[in-house]
Amino acid sequence: MSEASRFDTVAKAESTPDTPQPYAELGMKDDEYARVREILGRRPTSAELAIYSVMWSEHCSYKSSKTHLRQFGEKAPENDALLVGMGENAGVVDVGDGYAVTFKIESHNHPSYVEPHQGAATGVGGIVRDILTMGARPIAVMDALRFGPADAPDTRRVLPGVVSGISFYGNCLGLPNIGGELGFDSGYSGNPLVNALCVGVMKHEDIKLAQAPGPGNHVVLFGSTTGPDGIGGASVLASATFDDESHAKRPSVQVGDPFMEKLLIECSLELFAQDLVVGIQDLGAAGVSCATTELAAGGTGGMRVDLDRVPLRDPRLTPEEILMSESQERMMAIVEPAKLDDFLAVCAKWDILASVIGEVTDVTEEEARRGGRLVMTWRGETVVDMPPRTASDEGPVYERPFARPDDQDVLLGDDPAALARPATDAELREQVLRVLSAPGVCDPGWVTSQYDRYVLGNTVLAVPHDSGMVRITDSSDRGVALATDGNGRYTRLDPYAGTQLAYAEAYRNVATTGARPLAVTNCLNFGSPEDPAVMWQFAESTKGLADACQALGTPVTGGNVSFYNQTGSTAINPTPVIGVLGVIDDVHDRLTSAFSHDDAGATIFLLGETREELGGSAWADIVHGHLGGRPPKVDLAAEAALGRVLADSADHGVLASAHDLSDGGLAVALAESCLRGGVGCEVDLGSDAFTALFSESAARVVVSVRPDAEAAFAELCERHGVPVAAIGTVGGTALSMAHSGGRIAIDLTELRTAYESTLPAVFGGE
């Protein structure tokens, strides 16, 4: 048997139109396969089938979400700062002084369940390459993590693995990890959420796009060799519901090499600086398939690739496997012939393997109409001859049916007002400590102390503060602040409002540092889109986010959708994680969440209105295991006013600290401000101590005001229409809270033990 007969070619596809093909195993539906045949006018070769199956997978094509995501563009507020919008690898915003910032959050949920360490590690690697691909130097990362109950056996397998993977990869890469989230809920058992965010900075003129212009230009693959890891990851892992056989899919998870990625970053930035590339794309999901089709589609539409020239880790790989491999740390560049030698010299300096695998070609008008022409050869035979735009841009779009779940009204009607409240001061005190020490509320130090937050030397704020903040370069005082938030409980109760609350919290977290919120990214974690109830949650959620972003003038610049987060028929609570980026002109003006010894005697003010709002609250969950009622009211105008007060206060140096109120309400916010500064406080809770402490009304912040600035601050609040109440003073060695019926006091030592000992007790001390 000759070698040529062992693989499928275009000639063979034409002569054997009826050969059965395994499209269903690759995740394609009957009608999708039929459409490929119609586009090509014949059956696809097995290599073409590989390309279409990964490019049209849910993960790459957004076929179920596209119709809903459009409104982020349609409702985008007028914003001069937006330089590159949705659709590219990541959005780019202007932050002033000629600098631009690009940021994006992405999920790596399924791989992180199958193989926590490598799954989480390659999640970091992937998002960092997305940012690098825009022409930016990556400057920081964050992670939003959610797991099953902390003490569940599987969490003890998954969480340490995920954390070690992020720690291993991010630390070796030399990017500071400046914050994120850590949450626990039984719904995430068997389906952890691992969402990684990266931010990068560049000068305006250095923005790069995924495109392949100029016939005759070289197509260069550089970075790691291509191996059998991660084959079919996109279609098999990310686009199918988990079942008991998941563990058998281990080879689908990629293996990361952060050292190679570090070299790739430095090498790419040097290539950009010397202006040696005209287009660039990273190889993530769908590997070579995605990079070639997207680059070709973004350019002339024409490209010729010789797959024999792809450097392999394993010489036995077939063309289909080469096309589907998700081997990490690879990039593809379009290089002008005159600059090829210089390009290769930079790669050699960094010991980066680079291979010319093809060239950009011209297309006829007829070919352009069909979607361009991508031709690939293997062992001298043509194995791919297809219009690339049909794979990258013209995938199927589904209008999935959606329906409000039948149990939604039952859930909303289950009002937490009926729950037993603490009857005595002793009970109230005990519940404050119980909420503070709960795994999703307590100090995440066990996790975050495994991440390098100092490297690069520009970290101004990091965990545990409300946002991370980095100075954009050494030579500038300008900084960016970033926060991510999500609350699956609120979103389960009301997906529209819950998503707006997640957005509002991230917005507020950025505002409490003194930064002005500017732009939004999102990672939408949901169950199966084939379930109408899940699709209803998704539709409501995206509408909520688009409306909120329109109202507050912060455009969505990009993001990621992760469907099929469910085990069997049980979906996770819908968990849109919203990232907000803000800008601060002078990082020296930043605000922290810590009360300070230096400000003992400073007045503590509570900003915003406190209502009796306990639906979906941490108190209801932790004390009663209850989820029901309505989430807190959304008031976007109040959030905006609060943001203006905070930005003005930071500019004028009026505030000593600012901390947002969220999970666990005032009780948790006060405890955290005390513990972070190592100083107590004395506050008066008024007539209803329980509601004052545990309500989770939105648009609230607790601040301490510098002596002699109280009047000016109160005036500022009044001017912006923000309700303000003086509730106490900073000082002492206890969290001391009086109310009309009595008083409770918790010494800082006891408070600290409650806050800091939970995770070490579960996952092991240092």
């Binding site: 630390n171 090499d257 975050t448 102390s449 390098d452 100092y454 101004v460 050494d474 020296h588």
Partner: protein, 234 residues
Amino acid sequence: MTARVGVVTFPGSLDDRDAARAVRVAGAEPVSLWHGDADLKGVDAVVLPGGFSYGDYLRCGAIARFAPIMTELVPAARSGLLPVLGICNGFQILCESHLLPGALTRNSSRHFVCRDQLLRVEAADTAWTGSYSSGQEILIPLKSGEGSYVAGGETLAELEREGRVVARYVDSSPNGSQNDIAGITNEHRNVVGLMPHPEHAVEALTGPSVDGLGFFTSVLARLADGAPLAAATG
């Protein structure tokens, strides 16, 4: 004349820009040195920065030891004439190069640890610690996965006897280091290896303190006073 302090970049070095910034803040001129060039460019002192040189494959610092730049650096450092500060991965490289005794092993917690760490400066008579006083406590970041210092009994006794423990962790060791050792020096006191990162504590804005700056001002003062660096015979 402004002193020139070299900062070596190996593939996988991460804190090289930070080290260069610290040199600049201290008032000297940082000079980039490339691992592949056997050329110290005539610098007055050298910092081996933190990171994961060559991916830390095989063993931390084990491959960096054989880099071309080290063929120039090792004899100059051994002679006592060239001040060298190895931070974190740089400390590991100094041990692998046998410029310093002992080795750095996996943290006792088995986890990477990043925290603000209190140190006590024990030896204020090295090329890199003259600005401190003996017994002074300083707060600088520690961030490492393999920072547990180990050495043979005789070596440890010698380090202690000769006052060559440069800094110790205060309270308890965060990584299981013998004798709570955070840093050591050689016989000539020109080579210092330190696990925590002084270059991340040179600006109030970004560090937990500015206590780390002293390492960099110390070497400049030493270079300026013109005293022979190879004080000991060896």
